[in-house]
Symmetry: C2
Subunit: 344 residues, 2 copies
């Protein structure tokens, strides 16, 4: 009932944002014309174009992106749905994505799912409601896409890592199996006799374990199930798994860890046991995070190209968002080379 809240509630601004019609008024033209000098989609006389640009400059006009989004049905924004931005891998990936799309005027919206399926679903709805133009899903469980059907709504999606079979969802991944194979093969060639592996948790994929087994098989080795421990991608998990492996009567003399954090945890254990790396036990990780070069001895690992992954995902998205590509799902496989340091 009280109408004078403009003076009450607005402490600073008697003037909010400048709208297109204010510009039009000042320039003595219609909003249509202003829009056209901005977009260049229709011809505008040189003289009036000048007047309008001057008015824009004078008022400091900037188009309201929300209104534009509503009308054009595109937000110039992409979403990165990741487990945790705090994880360097996803931080770097997100940066790669942002850099890929930034130049074309797209902003980046990030969601941390914590690998929680409910959060993942909630965020997927959230970003679709917000009308993002593209989504990069780097989260654990992408199967629920069948129920959300974002591509049915028409929003391009690219999945990283996971294998996700949908006719219009692009994929970018590293060949985990090949990388794991290279890592294990390196240990074999180094002369290791008993090569263990610390896997991820049971829910995660088996590609890295597959590569490990293949390398072993190619070397004519048995795959001793006691040498397959499980971590949870964390440093602590790696430490515990390594303790378990080292309490076997026949200790392994090499261990391939499914990611770097796990490997760093494994190094913790060897240090606690007074073992020497790589003499007593050789360790190779997977990911090549920054920490791999910080730990001593520096970690031999498989480079997981986070930045390039984000970039590639961004490119795939752009192709679809800009209409450069509109066909069945594509897959980009990035190489993951061995980078040899001190630990193996």
């Amino acid at each position: 009932m009280v109408h004078n809240d403009t003076t009450d509630n607005e402490p600073v601004a008697d003037r909010g944002r400048v709208t297109i019609s204010e510009v039009a008024n000042l320039a003595g033209v219609s909003p249509t014309t202003v829009s056209h000098v901005l977009s260049g989609k229709r011809l505008v006389g040189e003289a009036t174009k000048g007047t309008v640009q001057e008015a824009i400059r004078q008022l400091g006009y900037r188009p309201n992106a929300v209104a534009r989004s509503l009308r054009t049905n595109r937000s110039k924004m992409v979403a990165a749905v990741v487990p945790d931005i705090t994880n360097p891998f996803y931080a770097v990936l997100t940066r790669g994505l942002a850099d890929a799309v930034d130049g074309v005027g797209y902003g980046t919206y990030v969601c941390n799912t914590d690998g929680n399926r409910e959060r993942e679903l909630a965020f997927t709805h959230d970003v679709l409601d917000r009308g993002v133009d593209g989504i990069v899903m780097a989260s654990v469980d992408v199967s629920m896409y069948a129920s959300v059907g974002p591509s049915a709504v028409g929003t391009p999606v690219v999945c990283v890592g996971g294998i996700f079979d949908h006719p219009r969802v692009d994929l970018v991944a590293v060949d985990d199996e090949v990388g794991a194979h290279a890592a294990t093969k390196h240990l074999v060639e180094r002369g290791a006799r008993r090569i263990a592996m610390i896997q991820g948790p049971a829910e995660s994929g088996t590609a890295r374990a597959d590569g490990y087994r293949r390398a072993l098989a190619e070397a004519g080795r048995e795959c001793d199930p006691r040498l397959m421990a499980r971590g949870d991608w964390t440093r602590r998990g790696g430490r515990q798994a390594m303790q378990q492996l080292m309490s076997l009567e026949e200790r392994p003399d090499a261990v391939f860890c499914a990611n770097d954090l796990t490997a760093i945890g494994a190094l913790d254990t060897t240090r606690e046991l007074g073992l020497s790396i790589p003499a007593d036990v050789a360790v190779v990780g997977f990911d090549d995070v920054d920490a791999a070069t910080i730990v001593t001895p520096a970690l031999t690992t498989i480079r997981n190209p986070a930045y390039e992954t984000g970039m590639a995902a961004g490119e795939l998205l752009l192709d679809r968002m800009l209409g450069r590509y509109d066909d069945v799902s594509r897959t980009v496989i990035l190489p993951c080379p061995l980078v040899q340091r001190q630990s193996a």
Copy 2:
């Protein structure tokens, strides 16, 4: 496990998203009424409320956030303007911010400025154009706010780190001076005789150097300018600065580094020179990033509470966004305790 409600929930793929008037049609009411059952801002009869909710469920209706934003002039989105999300400190800070506002329904939009003033300005415009409800500025140069004047547009802003004097911009920071003082004092008490410091680049603030000097003064020491080297916040910079310090005829026996990466670089140098830490030279860092516990010897450092900083910034923002606070600028100072490990 997957029950038959899929038939009800199935997304209607006919044409784009479901709008409020489609719901209204199906329920036999007006869009107004649908809006009211959604918002609860006006009474709706129990019977029709039921019908409407059923229609919503049946069509899988979700309100278009863009349209809502346009009308209500609030986007339920906050922006994190940081130098680089790849830097763990800012990643953690961003996560803290996201966690603070997520529960209340706010999403997070992130911008990487690279400490580049132009990018910072461009992103500030970008997020204002997008109508974010709040901005956290964690970027180097916040002085240009005078020229943009976001608070003049009415969008709440909180600055982290930098000292920024604007009547309505909230601040959250760590007391760098006190932290640096504690670090240096620790070195004094440990018995170090010649305590050096590796500062940040010249453009950065002097608070940490001030704390260093104060601790020295309190111990009755001279502040030898030759012991003040400069890094650039990076590992490499720390390594080089440390080389410089170690080539002095009178080597320092302790060094306080303005951040952890610098300290890790300094450790690189000591390792290359075959010096023992902390016996030959004690090192303390600043930030307590993950890497501080990964490096050997583990780094004694000052804990810079990134997550809490982001959280606090989020809270300050929420206060203003939700109208819980609307007054002059507030400042939150977070403690930055010494965490003692092996390097000093």
